[in-house]
């Protein structure tokens, strides 16, 4: 997820681009915004739908960390924290929940290598057990 901020306004607009981990936009998904004062109680201030490009905009009316949840109703869900600044227009995005991902080629190689290790372990353990069974 990426967060853009529009600065220079009295009340800065927060625009969030929601994407699946595959990179596709999370289009027409239900979005809920939780202001800092009620986030803990899960009381949302605004509910909307992302557009066809997975974009969603809202204007925070409170300073602090806003939680924005998205759910497409088909098993995919995400959450992001947006730090809304003062009326001077300062706004910044906290790290999205999906950050810290490895680059795709690294993930692929790491995954295949882990898989090879798991199956090799299974193979040798199975062979060992078979040999022990035939000995006794």
């Amino acid at each position: 997820m990426e967060v853009y901020d529009v600065t220079g306004e009295d009340r800065p607009v927060q625009t969030i681009s929601f994407r699946y981990s595959t990179g596709e936009p999370m289009a027409f998904a239900k979005v809920k915004t939780f202001p800092p004062s009620t986030a803990e109680r899960n009381v949302e201030s605004f509910v909307g739908i992302s557009d066809r490009n997975g974009m969603f905009s809202f204007i925070p009316d409170e300073e602090g960390e806003w939680r924005v949840d998205i759910e497409d109703g088909m098993g995919h869900k995400g959450s992001i924290t947006v730090k809304a600044g003062s009326k001077t227009g300062e706004a910044e995005a906290a790290a999205p929940t999906s950050s810290g991902k490895l680059p795709l080629p690294v993930s692929v190689i790491l995954g295949l290598s882990l898989m090879l290790n798991v199956f090799a372990l299974w193979f040798f353990a199975g062979k060992g057990m078979k040999r022990r069974c035939s000995c006794t």
Partner: protein
């Protein structure tokens, strides 16, 4: 077809893990050591298949190859899927570790359904019937998997009725694509290495 973390209710997650554990136990028991290289290969293909996107109209779908896994591996597809799903959740953020049980159940059942359909249709060992069985198996796998995903979502949240219908409709083209892919691979294997197709009667 992967269900993300935080979507399902705790009872559904627990039930998913319980059923997945049973399926895994049977799958491990029915996987002889000699067939592990084949199982590992299919598991690696499953792990990578979700990265392949097929453009479809304005959107795109990603492959699962559940039907093919079921046809080639039978019960061994369950541990193969579990390992592939675990690594997909860990490295690609597809699904999640808590929802791994439910995802293993939905996809494992799909693979087993594919194998049952394939075995039923291609009973007479005729090449044409094998091809037909491969399509039916690949197609049925996606429908069965979607049905389980929809049920899990519905049990967790009753408001998802409309979304569930949408999910089902969206997966019908994927079922057709997977059916066609299964046909090509089974037709190729039955010609070049028939033991991989006919020898899969290990269910």
């Amino acid at each position: 077809m992967h269900i993300s973390e935080g979507v399902l209710s705790p009872p559904v997650l627990i039930a998913g893990w319980a059923i997945a554990a049973g399926g895994l136990a049977v799958g491990l028991k029915k996987t002889p050591v000699e067939k592990l290289p084949e199982t590992a290969l299919v598991s690696a293909v499953l792990f990578l298949a979700s990265l392949v996107h097929v453009p479809l109209g304005p959107s795109s779908i990603h492959l699962t190859l559940l039907g093919l896994a079921g046809i080639l591996l039978g019960w061994s597809a369950v541990p193969a899927l579990f390992i592939a799903l675990f690594l997909q959740g860990l490295l690609f953020q597809f699904g999640g570790l808590l929802s791994l049980g439910v995802n293993t159940v939905s996809m494992g059942t799909s693979a087993l359904a594919a194998f049952s359909v394939f075995r039923l249709v291609s009973k007479k060992k005729k090449r044409q019937l094998e091809v037909l069985g491969a399509f039916a198996g690949g197609f049925a796998a996606i429908l069965v998997g979607t049905l389980i995903v929809v049920t899990a979502l519905w049990v967790s949240d009753k408001d998802l009725k409309a979304a569930a219908a949408l999910l089902f409709a969206a997966n019908v083209p994927l079922a057709a694509v997977e059916g066609v892919i299964s046909v090509f691979i089974v037709a190729f294997l039955s010609k070049m290495a028939p033991a991989y197709v006919s020898g899969s009667a290990r269910i």
